[in-house]
């Protein structure tokens, strides 16, 4: 169908891509949607992405249920539909960053206990939540242990863990604070400051700070906003996650 449309358009001497670009600009490129030349507005980026032709045609005609993408089969003529489909397909070769905005794959469905645990792990309504220090399953801030490798056996173990990597930073000009060392490259010492609910990556000149083993910091304090049943759900989530290869 597409190939035929293309042949007919070329036979008619019309540039189907120019027509498609015009339709795209008028209908799709509004900043509330796909942006100029598919560069992304509030809708996913199209530039630099390759779609199966059948899928592209279907989405443009029918839309995607439960999203803001409407179907255009009743709004555009079939010539315009063909042209804009050809145009969007041609965007596959446009320059694009490594991962397009708005296109991250949805998380795989989890069984109910693990799904609840995942919601709790990353719950933005509580500070701190686990995701504030742990990067896992595509989300979170990588400050603490990689939970892909470490699995506490029960919630008591989870609460009581005392990581050796949490030390005490002793800066020259301020009181000591709990810290995790990051690196000491390029004439700078970088540490995570764990004093407040969001970890701060701080940079010091090496002579401005020393690190001593041990710290009063505890994981019990970091998990204080979670009840025992909630931590059980989080454990269920951690057990459900596939182990990294």
């Amino acid at each position: 169908m597409m190939a035929l449309a293309l042949l007919l358009a070329q036979a008619a001497g019309e540039d189907i891509f120019a027509r498609g670009a015009a339709v795209f600009r008028k209908t799709c490129a509004t900043a509330y949607c796909h942006g100029p030349e598919g560069s992304a507005g509030r809708a996913p980026q199209l530039a630099g992405r390759r779609f199966p032709r059948r899928q592209l045609t279907a989405v443009i005609r029918e839309g995607i249920p439960n999203t803001s993408m409407p179907g255009f089969k009743d709004q555009l003529s079939s010539d315009d539909l063909n042209a804009v489909t050809a145009y969007v397909a041609s965007l596959a070769t446009a320059a694009a960053p490594a991962t397009a905005a708005g296109t991250a794959p949805a998380k795989p469905p989890a069984p109910p206990a693990a799904a609840r645990g995942r919601d709790l792990f990353f719950d933005p309504a509580r500070l701190p939540n686990c995701g504030v220090c742990h990067h896992l399953d595509g989300w979170g801030i990588a400050v603490a242990a990689d939970l892909g490798a470490v699995r506490p056996s029960n919630i008591a173990a989870l609460r009581q863990v005392r990581p050796a990597r949490v030390k005490t930073a002793q800066p020259r000009d301020e009181p000591p604070f709990p810290a995790v060392a990051v690196d000491s490259a390029r004439g700078e010492t970088r540490l995570w400051d764990l004093t407040a609910v969001l970890p701060v990556l701080r940079s010091f000149r090496p002579e401005e700070v020393t690190l001593a083993d041990g710290s009063p910091w505890s994981h019990a304090a970091a998990t204080r906003l979670y009840s025992d049943p909630e931590l059980e759900a989080i454990l269920a989530y951690l057990r459900w996650l596939p182990r990294p290869r």
Binding site: A29, T30, G41, A101, H135, L201
Partner: protein
């Protein structure tokens, strides 16, 4: 120095002084957000002789240069769309230091853009496209600390606004109002970056106002406070505008007032506690953010001096509130085409809502881009007028029920630009309005949209730039154009004024970009606004008589 700066005496129209002088210390000028400079070395009589003194090309031209420069003690601080930062000698344009925040490879939600830095406590603060706040040493540009406010992939949010330094804290508002996200304002200790408080725009379970959100809709209700707030040091209150409710066009799962979206909130700086709020648009279904600048001015209202907060929003209205307690005093329309309501009554209540409908087009003016974009208006205490950049535009809205998916776009429908009643697809202008009554004084017309901020000065001048690249000065009292310069790049940032060694400068960024900036190219095919990323500084020629 053979010339003396003429510091204009602020007219007795106002009691408090929101004017800048030699420095431009904050995003809105001062914390009162007047965008008004008390410098008058450049004035109506000599602005025609203004010349370029230097240009600084940042090299980061992706998405234009949308920032407000900060100038303190002869050093200018600038951020770019991809979170580069510069310190530049303000008299010569020579770079002192530069810095690049390491953004991840993934394209940021809604594109990379940045409206400026904040400077205080020996630090330069910048929000990033991946939801960090970073602090640099003011003298050297060395990074001192960075904080990740929340994984940007999770929230579908980031920081594009300039931060605000208030006493010992630095405060930021984030984006995400078109994502399935619950917006927030966060404050950090300026010196160390340690978290101080977070104000969630949507109250949580058990908090006052939570009852205006049925079911779980509060978790994804938006309200992103994505611009920069203001601060009154006498009242010790921070004022911030909050964004639209989500999903933008469809409210089927959130029937209720949806506090505190599309509102002005007043917060206590020490704790982030809410002192008062005023909601401009209950149950917003038009994407009518109330996120823009809050101008703080003391002006007489009905014969009595009042402490006002003036707020122009996407709605096409400027709201006049008492900033001590949020009392509604007036709302005056600044746009001509307003059809989403019939009017606003004496108590601030919206009358005659015209809402988008599921599955069918409804013509609404203004469209979701709003009758004004985030580029700031300016207030002059000499005239008592607010110089407001206006967009006349309408849209066909179609609502669509949508399930929220964390971090993903949650727009709830579609908006397409639609013609105005006279058949035009839109146009813009800069107009001067009486700050209290809204009476229009003059208009500077433009065929497309004016999307740069306005700068007002005690020289009775008003400066701005247009998307075709012209940076120009108007007579603040008559609107007559007195000077212009073709900078080559479209204007989507904010010009400032400052002085070094007794010489007054006007500096402007140029280089087109932004989300709303992309709209004109769809509406007027063949029109091309040029990108780039260059800062221009103008002054009177050295040897000319002042």
């Amino acid at each position: 120095m053979r010339s003396l700066l003429l510091l204009a005496v602020a007219a007795s129209l106002t009691a408090q002084d929101g004017a800048t002088g030699d420095n431009w210390p904050s995003y809105g000028g001062t914390h009162a957000a007047w965008r008004y400079s008390a410098l008058s070395q450049i004035h109506r009589g000599n602005v025609g002789r203004l010349v370029p003194v230097w240009a600084f090309q940042t090299g980061d031209s992706h998405n234009g240069l949308q920032a407000t420069p900060i100038v303190i003690d002869g050093v200018l601080y600038l951020s770019t769309s991809n979170n580069w930062a510069f310190a530049i000698d303000a008299a010569s344009g020579r770079q002192i230091w530069d810095y690049r925040f390491p953004l991840p490879k993934e394209a940021p939600m809604y594109g990379a853009q940045n409206r400026g830095v904040a400077v205080g406590h020996g630090r330069v603060f910048m929000g990033t496209a991946d939801n960090h706040l970073v602090a640099l040493d003011q003298k050297t540009g060395r990074e001192l600390w960075r904080v990740n406010l929340q994984d940007t992939r999770q929230c579908g949010c980031n920081i594009t606004a300039a931060p605000l330094v208030v006493k010992d804290k630095v405060v930021v508002g984030g984006t995400g109002g078109d994502s399935a996200h619950r917006g927030y304002i966060t404050a950090f200790d300026a010196r160390t970056g340690r978290f101080a408080w977070r104000f969630y725009v949507i109250p949580g379970p058990g908090e006052k106002g939570h009852e205006t959100w049925p079911g779980e809709s509060w978790r994804f209700g938006g309200g992103a406070p994505w611009m920069t707030g203001s601060y009154d040091p006498e009242l010790d209150l921070i004022y911030w505008g909050t964004g639209n409710a989500s999903s933008d066009l469809y409210a089927g799962s959130r029937r209720g007032d949806n506090l505190y979206t599309a509102s002005i909130v007043a917060l206590e700086p020490a704790t982030g506690k809410l002192r008062w709020h005023y909601q401009e648009v209950p149950q917003d279904v038009w994407d009518y953010d109330a996120a823009y600048e809050c101008i703080l001015a003391d002006l007489p209202v009905r014969g009595r001096m009042r402490k006002l907060l003036l707020h122009a929003s996407k709605t096409g209205y400027t709201f006049v509130l008492d900033r001590t307690n949020g009392e509604f005093l007036a709302a005056w329309p600044f746009a001509k085409h307003i059809s989403w309501i019939a009017g606003i009554d004496e108590g601030g209540k919206l009358v005659g809502r015209r809402e988008p409908v599921v599955g069918k087009q409804t013509l609404v003016c203004p469209g979701p881009a709003g009758a004004k974009s985030w580029n700031q208006a300016a207030f002059s205490p000499r005239t008592g007028w607010v110089y407001t950049p206006v967009m006349e535009l309408c849209a066909n809205l179609v609502a669509r029920p949508q399930e929220p998916e964390i971090g993903k776009v949650f727009f709830g429908g579609m908006a397409l630009p639609a013609p105005l009643p006279d058949g035009r697809m839109g146009y813009g202008y800069l107009a001067a309005f009486d700050a209290v009554t809204g009476r229009k004084q003059w208009t500077y017309d433009y065929p497309y949209y004016l999307l740069a901020s306005i700068l007002a000065t005690a020289g009775d001048l008003v400066f701005t730039g247009d998307p075709e690249g012209s940076f120009f000065a108007l007579d603040a009292r008559t609107g007559a154009k007195l000077w212009s310069f073709a900078t080559g790049g479209g204007h989507r940032g904010s010009s400032v004024s400052f002085a070094v060694g007794g010489r007054q400068f006007i500096a402007t960024p140029s280089g087109w970009g932004s989300i709303v900036g992309a709209n004109p190219e769809g509406i007027w095919p063949g029109v091309k606004f040029r990108g780039g990323s260059t800062l221009f500084a103008f002054a009177l020629p050295e040897e000319s008589p002042r």
